[in-house]
């Protein structure tokens, strides 16, 4: 999948070492790496970093039909060990070598690769990729994506954005994040290339890479564009970037307008997309040609997809009315996995996904996403299950967690000193791998409850609005 073994055009550029792999070399490296996986359909855990080895291991798994779970190499070791213990993958790839050596029952098979000798759990033959649903809470819940899901989504995105062999993306998002994976899939499949770098947009080295290796596109979550705007694109002297793609949450329309105008000046485009890991991951695209008329919209469904707006009973509502956003398409996941036995399951979703988002369609079929029904926060583009965060914290007494703009607000019932709260805040930020500034703790005499004894989140939302968070 996604390979062009006859092409000598660059496929992967490792900006940090200067190493370049052509499509032909990538195919050969993947075939070589796949010997580590032995039997097809045996589960692989890939703790992803920005190295070329990580990318080769990923492509090799797809090629060899080894279902691969993409995980954050910087997740806390205890969480990683627990996940490995639970799912017992046959092979663990960890280029950082931070997690592999700590795994009981695994031995080092080759650099960065650990193996388990016991019989693996059976997996469904269509299963290709597993992705976590909720940032780095260490949740054992995976999204199960089939080969067909990935192929459908990849070709629909390529068509929608017009990605071709001349396109080159710079990896600003990690591979274990569904949007990051999708950037790799689409550019490799189109015969284009991806630049890997461990540097960030706030380091001079990153921009040196951009000026030297000349990516044509840059993708990001809203926060990426906040940083870019502060830096000032014109001051960075990076004329090669002519396309930008934004997903992972709602970007302020004033900012969309600015970047759209700038990309148009360069003869390129600014794409707003809407997706979810469960949809492998992208569902809609706002065509550049519909700006500025449809500003604020998430766009139209990708080829093969449809969007319906439904009421609580699942009935479609009239055009313009608000309701639950339901997406159908060939890219909708097979289902979730919460335990090893689930890996053997086939499709349980029938290509239909209740997104948990609330929105409406306009007369032209453009989607406008206005809110969420599920208890999920989006912090700097990373989805965080608020209920899972509560479970992580409840050893210290009752808590309720709600989300604000790039913030988690934690309300504790147990009285605690400022120092205690600060300690808990730091621990949580560390465990979730979120910026410290995105987490706020406060104490309440009693958490608001509804008549049925459950936390009254509406009351907390009103309280949050009062504090301007």
């Amino acid at each position: 999948m996604f390979l062009h073994p006859d092409s000598d055009a660059p496929a992967v550029i490792d900006a940090d070492t200067g190493r370049v792999l052509s499509h032909r070399q990538l195919a050969a490296a993947a075939a070589d790496f796949a010997t580590q996986y032995e039997q097809p359909h045996e589960l692989v855990f890939l703790f992803a970093d920005t190295s070329v080895q990580t990318l080769v291991a990923y492509v090799a798994a797809l090629q060899h039909r080894s279902p691969v779970a993409l995980l954050d190499a910087s997740m806390r070791p205890a969480g990683a060990q627990e996940l490995v213990r639970r799912y017992r993958p046959t092979v663990v790839v960890d280029a950082t070598a931070e997690i592999g050596p700590q795994l009981a029952g695994y031995h080092l098979a080759s650099p960065g690769v650990w193996r388990h000798e016991r019989a693996a759990h059976p997996t469904h033959p269509a299963l290709a990729v597993l992705l976590t649903t909720s940032g780095s809470t260490g949740s054992p819940k995976f999204v199960r994506l089939s080969r067909a899901n990935l192929e459908a989504n990849t070709s629909a995105i390529i068509e929608s954005l017009g990605i071709d062999a001349a396109d080159r993306a710079i990896a600003t998002l990690p591979l274990h994040y569904s949007f990051g994976m999708s950037i790799v899939n689409t550019h490799l499949a189109a015969g284009g290339s991806v630049i890997r770098t461990g540097t960030t947009m706030l380091e001079p080295d990153f921009w040196d890479v951009v000026r030297r290796d000349r990516p044509t596109s840059l993708s990001g979550v809203p926060y990426t564009f906040h940083i870019l705007r502060r830096l000032g694109l014109d001051k960075l002297d990076v004329p090669s970037i002519r396309t930008m793609t934004q997903a992972g949450g709602r970007l302020e329309t004033t900012i969309v307008k600015e970047f759209h105008a700038e990309m148009q000046r360069r003869g390129g485009a600014f794409h707003v997309m809407y997706g979810q890991t469960e949809a492998g991951p992208r569902m809609t695209c706002l065509p550049s040609s519909s700006l500025p008329e449809k500003l604020g919209s998430a766009g139209l469904p990708l080829r093969g997809g449809t969007i319906e707006i439904c009421d609580e009973l699942g009935e479609a509502v009239p055009v313009g009315a608000s309701g639950d956003v339901v997406y159908s398409g060939p890219n909708v996941m097979m289902g979730y996995a919460e335990q090893p036995a689930d890996l053997a399951l086939g499709d349980v979703h029938g290509n239909r996904l209740h997104t948990g988002d609330v929105g409406h369609l306009d007369d032209d079929g453009f989607l406008f996403v206005t809110g969420r029904t599920k208890r999920i926060g989006k912090i700097f583009g990373v989805r965080v299950s608020l209920d899972e965060v509560e479970q992580m914290l409840d050893a210290d007494g009752p808590v309720a967690v709600v989300a604000g703009a790039d913030k988690l607000l934690v309300y504790c019932e147990q009285p605690a000193s400022g120092d205690q709260l600060d300690g808990r805040r730091r621990r949580l930020a560390h465990d979730l791998r979120l910026p410290l500034s995105s987490i706020r703790f406060s104490c309440m005499d009693a958490l608001p409850k509804m008549a049925n004894g459950k936390t009254d989140y509406q009351a907390l939302e009103r309280r949050k609005a009062g504090t301007g968070a």
Binding site: K235, P435, S437
Partner: protein
């Protein structure tokens, strides 16, 4: 001449770090607290406290406390 305590307070406030930090070794991504989000807050705080506009190249060059102290000289902020 400006008192360095003003600069330190800006770092403490925006990076959420202890006032008894090892200032000479403090660097971007060197500690968990100084990530990209905190960096953007730090820049905003420095602009606010010293009433300056920090240029793009300095936003991305300011990768340690020592460098920040030096770069601010460009904006007429010199430390005793």
């Amino acid at each position: 001449m400006t008192d360095e305590s003003t600069l330190r307070k800006a770092f403490v406030d925006s990076l959420d770090i202890a006032p008894d930090t090892d200032w000479e070794s403090l660097s971007y991504r060197g500690i968990e607290e100084w990530d990209s989000v905190a960096h953007m807050r730090l820049i905003a705080e420095l602009e606010d406290v010293f009433d300056i506009m920090i240029e793009t190249e300095d936003v991305i060059d300011m990768n340690s406390y020592v460098v920040a102290r030096k770069l601010l000289g460009k904006y007429g902020i010199d430390f005793a």
